[in-house]
């Protein structure tokens, strides 16, 4: 198949996929007389009215609420050293709010003390037993039943949250804004469509790649990239990543290889001898992503995705400029450039 037509079909396919997702999502959000009805992984939840006091138990839920102008009364701590567990891309939306930070096991009584009218628990990892107790405190929303626990697409999730707090129009506006930002990036870089890209990690001696329902893989897909074929042949773990043998890194030898890492761990990547056998290394098509941007990609939210796009667009373009000798600034800074 000639390259241009495959590119066109890919664009069309991703457009169709997102259209299908919104059509599929519609019945789950159908309003019911006397309340808002939601179908989720642990059953069905009815909200009597749009929520105002929201406890966010999902590790990334704060971003969606803040994007829609509602500060959560409690935030779940995931990682990183940021006030109230809110990362820099979402800080401006926090205003004067001082959400409670929930760390460790979810303390149900703390949640009860806060007297919420909605508990957002999609992507929280809570058990069914915890869900049942929480449901006695306030209506609880779990992850979308059609996706894995941490694999609901950001736009579907944002739409659900918008619906739950009665700000659907604002949600659609925000979602459209992010889609537009990605469309604009695709338009600025038509050469990206159909090329291969992969986000990889190197941790504790183990190399792996994000794929499937992972936010980092979706970020690359939204820019028109596709995953390398060899990666598709590896078994997916939890639906979002694959482990590689240290003796065979060829599945991540894509046109663009992004290392999700932090500056402190950069020496691990620099010391990975097998990396030097990859064409992506020899041709300067690797991009090192430090802690903050890696966090933005890992959150994969309506707020963090445009933040990551803004930070990475120029570097991706440099990595893919076809000239191995142009330095990719973050990779040089991390000491992993050839």
């Amino acid at each position: 198949m000639p390259r241009s037509s495959s590119r066109a079909s890919l664009c069309r396919r991703s457009f169709l996929a997102s259209a299908a997702a919104s059509v599929l999502a519609a019945p789950a959000l159908r309003a019911h007389q006397g309340g808002l009805r939601f179908t989720h992984a642990y059953g069905e939840t009815v909200l009597p009215a749009p929520a105002r006091r929201v406890v966010s138990l999902g590790y990334t839920g704060q971003d969606m609420l803040l994007a829609l102008g509602l500060a959560p009364i409690a935030v779940r701590y995931w990682y990183g050293d940021h006030p109230f567990g809110v990362w820099p891309w979402a800080q401006p939306y926090l205003g004067d709010a001082r959400p409670v930070l929930i760390t460790g096991e979810v303390s149900l009584e703390r949640v009860a003390d806060l007297a919420p009218d909605l508990i957002l628990a999609a992507g929280s990892g809570i058990s069914r037993a915890e869900y049942e107790v929480l449901s006695r405190i306030a209506p609880v929303l779990m992850h979308d039943p059609r996706h894995s626990p941490y694999g609901t697409p950001w736009d579907v999730e944002t739409r659900i949250v918008g619906r739950a707090i009665g700000r659907e129009n604002l949600a659609e506006e925000r979602i459209a804004g992010v889609h537009a930002a990605f469309a604009a990036a695709r338009a600025r870089h038509p050469d990206w469509a159909g090329r291969t890209a992969v986000a990889a990690y190197q941790d504790g001696g183990q190399t792996g790649a994000f794929a499937g329902e992972d936010t980092r893989a979706r970020f690359l897909a939204a820019l028109g990239f596709r995953p390398p074929e060899a990666l598709g042949r590896l078994p997916l773990i939890s639906g979002f990543y694959a482990q590689l043998s240290p003796e065979d890194l060829s599945p991540i030898d894509a046109d663009l290889l992004i290392w999700i890492s932090s500056l402190a761990r950069a020496p691990d990547i620099a010391g990975l001898a097998m990396r030097r056998t990859l064409r992506a290394f020899a041709q300067g098509r690797e991009l090192f992503v430090d802690e903050l941007i890696a966090g933005a990609l890992s959150f994969g939210s309506v707020l963090s995705l445009p933040f990551a796009l803004k930070a990475l667009e120029a570097d991706i373009a440099t990595a893919l400029d076809g000239r191995p000798w142009t330095p990719v600034a973050p990779s040089v800074a991390a000491g992993i450039a050839p």
Partner: protein, 322 residues
């Protein structure tokens, strides 16, 4: 008898403390009487069953430990050191990871009994009776093996299931409801009655197998029945809270010290009460020690129990028992 009453009162006091402890204590107290709002909800739906389940779990674990310790006449013979609770825990994690929808008490009992049979079979000698310490050591080995299997299993589980399995193996009382309470108390009371029916053989076995035979007790059969009861008691606790470390080990000697009961029944009652107190206080510590952070109760019993075991070993050595 008065000492038993004092201990009972102390444990009830601990339970009340666990129920009301926190910055919102007065608010909870009013909520209890008003019966409405978040305070009543916290008491009825969250802390109430949590504390009641903790009491039940502690009592069955304490009782189980006391039975083993009396049966083998050794303070180190406890279902946690001997690998029975970790066998029960591994069975539950395996069932969760295989997606089997079996009732947890059954799975846990099967795992615990299987581990006990393994320990008994592996420490058996053809030519001489098995010393209790060999049972303890072989049990420790079974515990090592199950935890290695647990680690291996966990690396193969999806992220969400692995996190859930990790919590099970640590031991937690989070989100336990009244159904858990009913389950552990009902099974616990049934097994306590079964143990009560075996008081005569137990008292005889405590005198030594020869004297027991002289009293007309068939030692092998009586011991197997008592050990099975004790394993099932431990499994009933594991099915609700996971393999909480060291509770069964600590409860009986501490209880005996507090109550100084002479009869077997008295010591068992003291062990059950003490076990209940240990779990409730450990859970309170795990919830309230670090502000804003809740830890699973198994972490706290591990932190409490390990120094106790070290102290126990030091004392045993002083007395020349080890």
């Amino acid at each position: 008898m008065t000492r038993v009453a004092v201990l009972l009162a102390a444990v009830l006091g601990a339970a009340m403390l666990s129920l009301f402890w926190g910055p919102e204590m007065g608010f909870l107290w009013r909520g209890m009487w008003s019966g409405e709002g978040p305070a009543a909800l916290t008491l009825r739906v969250i802390r109430g069953p949590r504390v009641a389940a903790g009491l039940g779990v502690g009592a069955v674990l304490g009782l189980s430990g006391a039975l083993f310790q009396m049966l083998f006449r050794n303070p180190l013979a406890a279902p946690d050191l001997m690998g029975f609770t970790s066998g029960a825990g591994l069975a539950i994690v395996a069932a969760i990871s295989l997606g089997l929808a079996l009732p947890l008490p059954l799975v846990s009992a099967a795992g615990g009994l299987l581990a006990a049979l393994l320990v008994a079979a592996l420490s058996r000698h053809r030519h001489r009776p098995t010393p209790p310490l060999t049972l303890v050591l072989v049990g420790l080995g079974v515990g090592f093996t199950t935890s290695a299997l647990g680690t291996f299993l966990m690396t193969r589980l999806p992220v969400q299931e692995a996190a859930e399995a990790q919590r099970w193996l640590t031991g937690s009382l989070a989100a336990r409801g009244w159904d858990h309470v009913a389950q552990v108390w009902a099974i616990g009371i049934g097994l306590t009655l079964a143990a009560a029916a075996q008081m005569r053989p137990l008292a005889a076995l405590e005198l030594g197998p020869d004297l027991a035979a002289g009293l007309g007790i068939r030692a092998g059969r009586a011991r197997a029945a008592l050990a099975s009861t004790a394993v099932l008691l431990a499994a009933a606790g594991v099915a609700v809270a996971g393999p909480l470390p060291f509770v069964a080990l600590m409860a009986a000697p501490l209880g005996a010290r507090l109550v100084q009961a002479r009869t077997a029944a008295g010591r068992l009652a003291a062990a059950a009460t003490t076990g209940a107190g240990i779990v409730v206080l450990a859970d309170l510590a795990a919830r309230a020690a670090l502000p804003g952070i809740q830890l699973p109760v198994g972490v706290a019993t591990g932190l409490l129990g390990a120094p106790y075991l070290l102290w126990l070993l030091a004392r045993e050595m002083e007395r020349g028992d080890l």
